[in-house]
C-alpha cells in the first residue's frame, strides 16, 4: 500500500532526500525543524505583546 516516502527539498542543493533523514543525501546539510525557531518566536511575540499592553494601559 505504501509508496515512496515523503521527500524533503534541500534548501542548499535542491536535492531530494527522504524527509525522515536528518541530513541531505547529496550535500550533507543538516535539516532542522521549522518549529525550532517558529515556536520560540511566537511565544516571544505573545509575551512582548502582553508586556506592551501592560505598559500602554498602565498608570
Amino acid at each position: 500500500m505504501t509508496g515512496p516516502a515523503v521527500q524533503r527539498v534541500c534548501p542548499v542543493c535542491r536535492g531530494l532526500t527522504v524527509a525522515a533523514h536528518p541530513h541531505c543525501a547529496y550535500c550533507g546539510r543538516r535539516f532542522q525543524s521549522e518549529m525550532m525557531w517558529k515556536v520560540p518566536f511566537i511565544i516571544a511575540l505573545f509575551l512582548a505583546s502582553f508586556l506592551a499592553a501592560v505598559l500602554l494601559y498602565g498608570p
Partner: protein, 142 residues
C-alpha cells in the same frame, strides 16, 4: 438586553434619593478608554494571533498527472518547494474527503505519507473540484 435588572437599578438609586423624591426613569451608559488606546490594545491582541496562524499554516499544491498525484509543500510567493509527496494512481489509499460550502477537505490516512489539507473554493478556478478529483484518483470519493 439590559445590563442591570430594574430592581438592581432602583436599589442603587434608593439611598441617594431625597425624602419623598421618586425616580421617573433611568438609563445606562459607558465611557470607554480613548479609541487611541483601544485600537493599539486590540492590535496587540490580534496581531500575534494572526502572525502565529500565518507561521504555522502549511501551503500545498496538489497535482494530478497521468501517473501520480503529487503533493508539494510550498512556501513564499514563488512557491518554493519544501517537500514532495507522491501517490501512484490506482493506489487504494484510505482517503477521506468532504465538500462544504467553502472548503473541500482531503485526509489521507497513510502511515508513511499522511496528508490533510483543505482547499478553498476561491483558491483557483475549480479548486475544490480539482482537489477532489486528485483524491478520487487514489482512493477517495469525488
Amino acid at each position: 438586553m439590559a445590563r442591570y435588572k430594574e430592581s438592581v437599578v432602583t436599589a442603587a438609586f434608593a439611598p441617594h434619593l431625597q425624602p419623598g423624591e421618586t425616580l421617573h426613569s433611568h438609563a445606562y451608559g459607558v465611557k470607554q478608554p480613548s479609541m487611541w488606546l483601544i485600537l493599539p490594545l486590540y492590535a496587540l491582541a490580534i496581531v500575534p494571533g494572526v502572525v502565529a496562524v500565518a507561521l504555522l499554516t502549511k501551503e500545498y499544491l496538489v497535482g494530478l498527472t497521468d501517473r501520480r498525484v503529487l503533493v508539494l509543500r510550498v512556501s513564499g510567493g514563488k512557491a518554493d518547494v519544501q517537500e514532495v509527496t507522491e501517490y501512484a494512481l490506482g493506489e487504494r489509499l484510505p482517503v477521506r474527503t468532504s465538500n462544504g460550502s467553502l472548503f473541500a477537505w482531503i485526509t489521507i490516512d497513510d502511515p508513511q505519507r499522511p496528508f490533510k489539507a483543505k482547499f478553498h473554493r476561491a483558491g483557483y478556478p475549480n479548486n475544490r473540484e480539482n482537489a477532489l478529483a486528485a483524491a478520487a484518483a487514489i482512493g477517495g470519493t469525488a
